[in-house]
Symmetry: C2
Subunit: 348 residues, 2 copies
């Protein structure tokens, strides 16, 4: 099995404060109240496709222990630690150079650690198909989600026109997060997909693409090459990783690569980027409330999202359209319509 899974888990999830905190961000939380955290659910959905010994996590030093605790089934030395945040291109470069050294034939799936997938069977079908495609092909594959609404919180991928349906389309263009008007325009066209941030490629491809399009990043890992997989790795990474520019993989590679495809997918996906999206994904009562936590009692409440991990009992009366979140001695009650201000509240 050359299939490898890379889980990117360095995010700080500040939009979900106080449920998500810098000490324990969203990917390490049982957001859905299902008994598994987002990163655990992420690993779970690759069961049967990637063996545990081929799973890699890139995260920050401060989350090392949480990852070990939450994913005990993966090798400890596959938890790679970034000494600082440099966006996704250096993150992916690090793990790719490292994997290539151990397994030059590796075929990779790159996934965020804090997204939701509803239909796991369809997800596995799509991933398997994409892995098959990239195993014999120097292609970059992105998973494009069929848009269901004019979402302004996602980037879009536009595919080339095609006379007949296929499983992989050539990408015409990557599109930044649009405004509402543009988003409404996009979803009129079957060529537009949401960019899920899930990528599939073989390790030679991504190393080659990074070397070609992001030479300043590639150079750092070429220098690090002799130390990767050795006892000196972390010290050398701590020394050199910070010299990488902060740049996203989309900007560094996707928008420049030639052999790039989008694989249309429809497995019920969300980046769970807002409380609003969480309420959409959650099981709701007949008044539209999603309550996640022990013993939450709602009286005349509607359209509320309640997430309380540590309260033993919560009684809410007469709230419509509110977020109620409590964790570690911090309580937030905020209108859902004002959730973009939570970052600002948490920073104070």
């Amino acid at each position: 099995m050359n299939n490898h899974l890379v889980i990117m888990a360095g995010g700080v999830g500040s939009r979900f404060w106080p449920m998500s905190t810098p000490e324990c961000p969203k990917q390490f939380i049982d957001v859905m109240g299902c008994g598994r955290t987002f990163i655990q659910l992420t690993l779970d959905r690759f069961k049967g496709i990637v063996p545990n010994e081929n799973v890699w996590v890139v995260t920050s030093e401060s989350y090392k222990d949480i990852v070990r605790e939450q994913l005990p089934e993966i090798p400890v030395d596959h938890i790679l630690l970034e000494p600082c945040r440099r966006n996704t291109a250096p993150c992916i470069a690090y793990v790719s150079w490292r994997i290539r050294k151990e397994c030059p034939d590796a075929n990779l799936v790159i996934t965020p650690s804090d997204h939701m997938v509803v239909n796991i069977t369809e997800f596995q079908r799509i991933i398997s198909q994409a892995l098959e495609f990239t195993s014999g092909n120097n292609a970059i594959v992105t998973l494009g989600m069929k848009p269901t609404r004019p979402e302004t919180g996602y980037g879009y991928i536009e595919r080339e026109n095609s006379s007949q349906p296929t499983e992989f389309y050539r990408v015409a263009q990557f599109r930044e997060k649009p405004n509402l008007e543009t988003a409404k325009e996009y979803i009129q066209h079957p060529e537009f997909y949401w960019n899920s941030g899930i990528f599939v490629w073989n390790v030679q491809t991504i190393v080659s693409e990074l070397s070609q399009h992001a030479a300043d990043v590639a150079k750092v890992f070429d220098t690090l090459m002799p130390y990767l997989g050795t006892a000196d790795e972390q010290a050398k990474v701590n020394e050199l990783f910070p010299s990488c520019p902060s740049i996203s993989i989309d900007y560094a590679v996707m928008e420049k690569a030639k052999d790039i495809y989008v694989c249309p997918a429809d497995f019920g996906w969300s980046d769970v980027g807002t409380w609003g999206s969480l309420i959409t994904l959650s099981e709701k009562d007949s008044d539209g409330n999603a309550a996640i936590g022990p013993r939450i009692e709602l009286h005349e409440c509607s359209n509320c999202i309640v997430h309380t991990s540590e309260e033993r009992r919560v009684v809410l009366q007469g709230l419509d359209g509110y977020i109620v979140a409590e964790k570690d001695g911090t309580l937030l009650v905020c209108k859902l319509s004002e959730e973009q201000r939570i970052k600002e509240f948490s920073a104070q």
Copy 2:
């Protein structure tokens, strides 16, 4: 000094759940966020009038340790424990028989433990005046508060008409909690006062009145008399106290006694019986919010009462007219207008 103070502290404060719980009801809580609990504030306001060694607390067995901890300055054997709740008449009878045995000349003030007084100087003037009156007089004195609004949550005392103003008026009638229409009628007349539940009398008077008008209660304490103040007191009280009928002092004595007076008072008093009354008494911001607790941040909130003793940080946004209370792992958010339902919530 024959002045004695009796603090009745057996209440369960269920209307203030979850701030107030059966384990630690309202009188033992720093409700105002001033650093002193209600029972401590009650004792404080008698400084200089009653020496600590003449202070008595009647409470239930389960609150003994809290009282000892919160009022370390009063004698431990002055904390009398009711084995069960039998309303105020048996409570007052117990402490009166007990005090009479030690100090037959005692002159008593009876006070609830969970009320608020704003003007302590005026309070002390009124109490001193009442104690002077009852020290040489077999009168029953009630403190009548000048009503400031048509309150339906209080009982009223109607005094007899008097041609000239005086400090003590004869009581014409006790009136039950009125409906709003009746309350509006009452406050038109200068003869009506709120019944504060604060009483002043000498111990011979109350024992004699109880013996006359509440023989079934008096009989129990006549039987207990040989054991009061001995090592057997608690065991015998536990045995016989439950045989008392459950009856209020108003009903047992006030409404039947002849030599009964009301002393008009105006020292800013409240029984703090509702969250609404607490918000009235508390310091408020310019939007009418009263926030009691560490680090409470309000954004676009108005007319809210927030009481959080254990949260380290609370951020509230977009709430108008709500109660937010958190204690011991229990959170309540409830419209102030629905606060009468809190008892029901807490019972579930």
